[in-house]
Symmetry: D2
Subunit: 342 residues, 4 copies
């Protein structure tokens, strides 16, 4: 049993961490913090947890958090990097679900987040927590940067193609569709049901913060400079990301076999049979990424369809997958739920 | 480990049985039948089951089914009663999710289902599988009639009031709202997304088949003749039933305490604090019924709010709860999932 | 042509007023105010208006507004009553869509809105703008209080029964379901798509501000004291109210004929054939209220189903209907759109 | 006043034709046919039309239809081409909303529709009814093939780029998202609310019937062979198409100015200001196509966002736009509605 703390558990990645960790046989939920809701029972804010979790939110306190074996940060960007250095110094392991430690280049971070990074020295120490790419580094990591939701779906889709160097890395396109929970649990007009349901739109076409994260990840895979056009869309559903990826093929190869072999040992990547189309509902509530690969009309454009639950494989499930690897647990513990359908 | 068969597993109660039973530590899924899909892999029809269930649908065969310890029927009404008598004769236990064995009076059955009942003698033998009412009888039952979704939400809400005889039993009102999955997985125009989303309507106000089932159940509770006005509504969501129940109070009593005491030992009924409003999403994917009781403006009308997931506590979860009781397992085995929120 | 001003046009009743008035042949849109968005083009906030309205929001200015023939207030409660007295004094006609002038009793207003009323003397002068009840008074009114959305659907459903005195007025029940747009266009967590879709819940069972308004209206109809149990529900759709109304019959009468005769000359109330169930989508975007009346199992409970678009007949459409009556226009001008289906 | 007939008006393009034509001041609705619903009142099937249209469906009869000035076919493909030759011979004008006359090459038609074309000689006579491309030809046409929904959104987006020859025509990508009404009003499991809501998926990536139609149209525009990768997605909403289009720029040009100039005189194409993202809800119920053009990170990939209501500009509205042009009416008559928002 390890002692677990969660900082900032009032958002959607927070409640999802709680839902999953509540059933983890090796985890003792120790501390759940929230500045705004300190004192409130967790199950009052999230009634689905009634009868399963009877803790209260507490004020974040660095000394209390230091009694944990691992601390999850489910905070907006900029918050974690205030407390993380102290925890790292004290030997506590940290799994950060925010964007604070995803980019290795502090200048790039500052450019996209409009403020200097607080602890740039930790950026090189942080391990990018995509197990399909970095499983060994994760095992011994002290600080994990959990990938973003779009980056997870996109990188898992491009990974086999770029590793083999069979597409033009300078002309990648990711047309990604996300459910509204990707915008978080915060009062805003644009994500009201009245604004976001019965509606489809692209947003941030001029530049989304997940773009540099994806390009950095794909650069590591391809060993060649990568250029991505990334167009996210707000889709009228709660959960799910569907990334439709386009690449220009430069070599002839059996794409179906490539994908199946690449992911044959991965517990959470499911390559569908040839001709398939993954549905986001087939992964709702589960940690699986389902992928299909197509070559329409046998042309030179490859189309990869990649579907995840943005709150599970795209956030909290993947965070726990990292924790399982870090502590030598079975990698699937507590995150092996079957998707709810319908 | 017991051997389990499922007849008619291509509908929504079928896939939900599969999702839940796949994680049951005492269950070996033995046979999954479907006349229409025989030969197909179960996970081809229900992609959420990929990697979790690798059985194929088979033609229903009474001899094969007779090798099971228990057989679930997730069939439309009229189908189970063709095979159930033989299985009962052979000593197999049967849990029927359809309406075939819910009504004790064969004439009433014929009146509402427009065809004579096939095995009326079994009606008196069947146990109505509402554990909160019939737990002891369920333990030794050979044939369980799993309550309908509306009847589950409605009976659990009225039960404490009628047991205590504190409302007028001749003027009960149940205004019930159901998600579209209650209509099943069958091609129909009325339940297309284009017809049922962004829409609210009542239906079957002149008479719904769950009315006699509810009245029969409430009659057993109240020991007085009961008369119910039942108005179901089709609600634009996939899962969930919200029953809003109205009764005329005939005695003054602490309603909150009544409900809390009645359900204090029930693992799957959660009485919310005074002043609460249960949400269907707080039980999505879970076997819990959440209930709140109100007395608006301290008048003589009591309002009970009762929320369930129609496919879990209203069908497949409750069926497994019955199985757990019948076989002496922990009552919560495989049905203790936390609701998915958001 | 009359000059029209709209105060507070950044909410949903505001944009709906604009959509409808833009096509009104007798109306010149003169002033559209918003404190928060002054200077912005109206069509920048509401892109559906691009090409149809090219005004900008301006700061509300009492002198400018005084140049209008009629001013609509589409403001939150408490705002209109600051400016209305001056406009009334200057002879401008006012149509208020907020709750400020709906209750005739200033003490009752204070009790439900937690602040004293600003101009209690105007309360008796204001005409409650339900044309089916008050058409003659509306014609010559200077100040109209447009009924709330729930009150419109509920009163139109109970009206024929109470006028004839054939139901027990002390035990009325209104179980009402509203789309999320009823909560307005304001940043809030509870009405995010992630919170309100795939969900059904009752709210404010202990007391909703529309309760005194409905009771006041029904009291005028029935000439007997009325007692209502009112339970509103938040329904996962954008538009629409479905009120399901229950009354105890005290006399035998042909209910279908009663309703058809009562509304035979009403342009915006449609009594459906016997046995029907109105759908909210059948009135989406239109000013019609569709009603069906049932007597289940020929018992003594009457069930009325009443469906409106909460933003049209429940707000802006009805406001324009009032304006048409006040200025002697054809009552249907600009509000005779056919509902959009699907 | 012209006499109008509609063949096959029981689908969604049918009811949308009825909704729009009911308000057309120059149109007399004469005949509405349906084999399956002959005898039924139109407003019984489509309750939104109650009080607006009091015709009944009749059996399609070629002699009766020949008394019309123009006949719309809102039928599945393969139906119209049975009756159209006779009507054309008799001098009746025909506007076909199906796919029967969209492709000019009968072999291509047979390849994609798996049956020989019935009247291949009419294919060259038919005018492809995209007014922004073919307005003059439409004016005098006797037979109009109304473009498909995806083809309308896609062609309007690519048109300025291909006319100017500034993108590589061999590597076009259209990632298109459609609401479920695109699948029509027919009983099917895949488009049930329970299957299609809270879900996103691509479909027909291996080949969709709109692909040859789009390529044919783009070929006419570009005068160079065109190759398109077309990936349609089923999106959880009723109405709307959002096409996200990608092209490789071959010349430097002011894209915003190009689009604004190309469409400056078009009543139903709205080019948004630079940096905008059109929303499908901003055109819901309206005949407008809203377009934005982007060049992310000033790279060589151009991104065009194109949004329409698939049932209006993508079908029935555009059909009426064609009719208005053919008969010399104001092009906007009856199709100038403002989109409903929210």
């Amino acid at each position: 049993m390890i002692k677990v703390g969660i900082v900032g558990a009032t958002g959607y990645t927070g409640v999802e961490l709680l839902r999953l960790l509540a059933t983890h046989p090796e985890v003792s939920l120790h501390i759940i913090t929230s500045r705004t809701e300190a004192g409130m029972e967790v199950s009052e804010l999230f009634p689905n947890l009634r009868g399963h979790i009877d803790l209260r939110f507490t004020e974040p306190d660095i000394d209390q958090l230091s009694t944990c074996d691992v601390v999850f940060f489910a905070t907006p960007h900029g918050v974690g990097m205030e407390m993380v250095p102290t925890l790292i110094e004290r030997g506590i392991r940290v799994i950060d679900l925010s964007a604070d430690f995803r980019l290795r280049d502090p200048d790039l971070w500052q450019q996209w987040y409009n403020t200097p990074h607080n602890c740039p020295d930790l950026l090189s120490q942080a391990v990018y927590g995509l197990p399909e790419l970095n499983r060994e580094a994760i095992r011994s990591a002290q600080l994990i940067a959990v990938p973003g939701c779009y980056p997870t779906a996109t990188q898992l889709g491009f990974l086999p193609l770029l590793e083999q160097g069979i597409i033009d890395p300078l002309h990648l396109i990711a047309d990604a569709k996300s459910g509204v929970s990707g915008a978080g649990r915060k009062a805003a007009i644009g994500t009201l049901l009245t604004e976001a349901s019965e509606n489809m739109k692209a947003y941030a076409v001029t530049g989304h913060r997940h773009l540099p994260e994806i390009e950095q990840g794909l650069n590591m895979i391809s060993h060649h400079p990568v250029k991505l056009t990334f167009v996210p869309h707000l889709t009228p559903m709660i959960r799910g990301i569907h990334a439709t990826l386009y690449g220009r093929l430069t070599k002839v190869i059996d794409l179906q076999e490539l994908f199946e072999q690449r992911y044959t040992d991965e517990p959470f990547v499911d390559v569908l049979p040839a001709g398939s189309h993954p549905e986001t509902r087939s992964v709702r509530g589960s940690n699986t990424c389902r992928i299909a690969v197509h070559q329409p009309q046998q042309g030179d454009t490859v189309v990869v369809l990649s579907a995840i639950d943005n709150l599970v494989k795209g956030a909290s499930g993947q965070a726990i997958q990292n924790m399982n690897i870090m502590f030598g647990f079975d990698e699937s513990l507590a995150i092996n739920d079957i998707a709810i359908l319908p």
